[in-house]
């Protein structure tokens, strides 16, 4: 075959829109770095400050361990209670939002509710609930329940929308009541993913519950913020180390839980 053979168009189409998009993003990043006056010098100075700060945190001071333990327990309680309620509420909400099984008049309000739960960061919910029910763990629990619904219900709905409808058709053809259709043809297809989402959210709630205390919604975050303000950096370090330990333990537990349901 010579080069003069039939000239075919390239089989790989060029997506000019995507290319233009990448270029635009790159240009905007350059512009934004300039506009925000971010320079290498400032990062160097910052690193120096950071090193000094880190130095003052060592050695960690575990003198007030009783307070630390109390706070950790409260944090774990907030995380577990809010995850349990959040996931329990997410089940029906997520189901109602699944467009392949439910009629439009039900999916729209459910999706709107999920969107509202998703639209605010937990800290904003926490500020609202502290105003509503006062300082303390109750505000934290309510906060994280809503945060959980926003995340888990949405993923539940998406998981249900991805199932194969063939078994559903078979159950309906056999005259099964709607609840039996759910239990036998929908649940087996999504259970594993539900377990995954629920453990992930519990993990996320544990991390979030260390933070919402900063605005007074209970947990270890309040103590952390107070220690910062009193320049008690040794204690700050002790708190941070215990949070890291807590998250690692929860990671381990999450893996075990997923192993059981595999």
């Amino acid at each position: 075959m010579s080069a003069s053979a039939i000239k075919r168009p390239s089989p790989f189409e060029v997506n000019w829109w995507a290319r233009a998009g990448y270029l635009l993003v790159a240009l905007y990043c350059v512009y934004a770095v300039n506009a925000l006056d971010i320079s290498f010098d400032r990062i160097i100075i910052g690193l120096d400050n950071g090193a000094k700060f880190l130095g003052s945190m060592f050695p960690p001071v575990f003198k007030r361990w009783a307070l630390l333990i109390d706070n950790l327990i409260e944090t774990v309680q907030i995380a577990i209670i809010s995850s349990a309620f959040g996931v329990a509420i997410s089940l029906p909400v997520g189901l109602c939002a699944a467009r392949n099984l439910m009629p439009d008049w039900l999916t729209w309000p459910s999706r709107a509710f999920i969107a509202v739960c998703r639209s605010f960061h937990p800290v904003i919910f926490a500020i609202l609930f502290v105003k509503a029910v006062g300082f303390g763990p109750l505000a934290g629990i309510l906060t994280l329940i809503f945060a959980s619904i926003g995340f888990v219900a949405k993923l539940f709905a998406e998981a249900i929308e991805e199932i194969s409808l063939k078994p559903v058709e078979a159950m309906r053809a056999a005259g099964a009541p709607f609840m039996s259709v759910l239990v036998y043809s929908v649940l087996p297809q999504v259970l594993n993913r539900f377990i995954g989402f629920a453990t992930y959210q519990t993990d996320a709630n544990l991390r979030n519950s260390t933070m919402i205390g900063i605005v007074g919604a209970g947990g270890i975050g309040g103590t952390l913020a107070a220690a910062f303000q009193r320049f008690d950096y040794g204690f700050v370090c002790a708190i941070l180390i215990s949070i890291i330990a807590l998250i690692m333990v929860s990671e381990l537990l999450a893996q075990r839980v997923k192993g059981v349901f595999r």
Partner: protein
């Protein structure tokens, strides 16, 4: 099988019969997929429905158990008009209509036994179904049916461990578990190899004989349909062009049903 040789007369028995009268289905207004379909099957019989793809064979079967809503006409299952039913009454009518699917429609993550017992879901409450509290006689019957389809050793295996032919056997056991008055099979052999296809057709025929019920089979394979049926309904463009015993089906009919003739050589 004797009464099936005179299809027009069937239906007089009353129980375990299917009567379709002037059935019409339009997905889009004015464009009928099924135009005025009428036929009757009853008692122990196997009816093969043949015709080109997209001619409305699947729609026809799904109209019978109302998975698809008919536009007009009457459908009587053992004398009861299923088109008039709603809610619980419709569910109860569906229990009497077994269905076997082209792609088996099993729940992959459930065991073979659980899949077979799905045929009883219409008879027990969701709560009991969830707890797997099926009546003992249902479980005994499920074991008997698994024996019949040759899968007794697989009761606790997960459905996704099975081969295509085995899955279709489970699908048939599930449908029979409903104690249906009629059995609908929508292309039950299309995803299977020729040998397995024959075995599945034999099984469907055995079900018709053992349970004394009419079986309706949508089928692409004309030879297979002819071989295992005692009545053939040939459809084209939503109309019935042929309705008689298999031996009466000539090449001329096939030309009419499928169009063209080169493929007949």
């Amino acid at each position: 099988m004797s009464h099936a040789s005179d299809p027009k007369k069937a239906g007089a028995h009353g129980d375990k019969s299917l009567v379709v009268e002037h059935l019409r289905k339009e997905y889009v207004r004015g464009k009928a997929v099924l135009k005025d379909i009428s036929f009757t099957v009853s008692g122990q019989s196997t009816t093969a429905i043949i015709g080109p793809s997209g001619t409305g064979k699947s729609t026809l079967l799904r109209c019978i158990n109302r998975l698809i809503e008919p536009t007009a006409g009457r459908i009587l299952v053992s004398g009861e008009d299923v088109c008039a039913l709603k809610g619980t009454a419709l569910r109860e009518a569906r229990r009497r209509i077994g269905m076997v699917f082209q792609e088996y429609n099993l729940v992959e993550r459930l065991s073979v036994m659980e899949n077979v017992l799905c045929g009883r879901l219409g008879y027990i409450s969701p709560w009991r179904a969830w707890l797997r509290k099926f009546p003992q006689e249902d479980i005994d019957r499920a074991f008997d049916l698994l024996d019949m389809v040759g899968l007794a050793d697989f009761a606790r295996a997960r459905a996704d461990e099975l081969s295509g032919g085995q899955r279709q056997r489970v699908g048939i056991a599930r449908a029979v578990m409903q104690e249906p008055h009629i059995l609908l099979a929508d292309e039950p052999t299309s995803s299977l190899d020729p040998k397995t296809s024959v075995e599945i057709m034999e099984l469907l025929r055995a079900v018709a004989e053992k349970r004394d019920i009419p079986v309706l089979v949508n089928i692409h394979d004309v030879t297979l349909g002819r071989r295992f049926s005692d009545r053939v309904i040939g459809m084209c463009k939503g109309e019935v062009l042929f309705d008689d015993v298999p031996s009466a089906l000539q090449d001329d009919h096939l030309k009419q049903i499928y169009g063209g003739e080169e493929w007949l050589q």
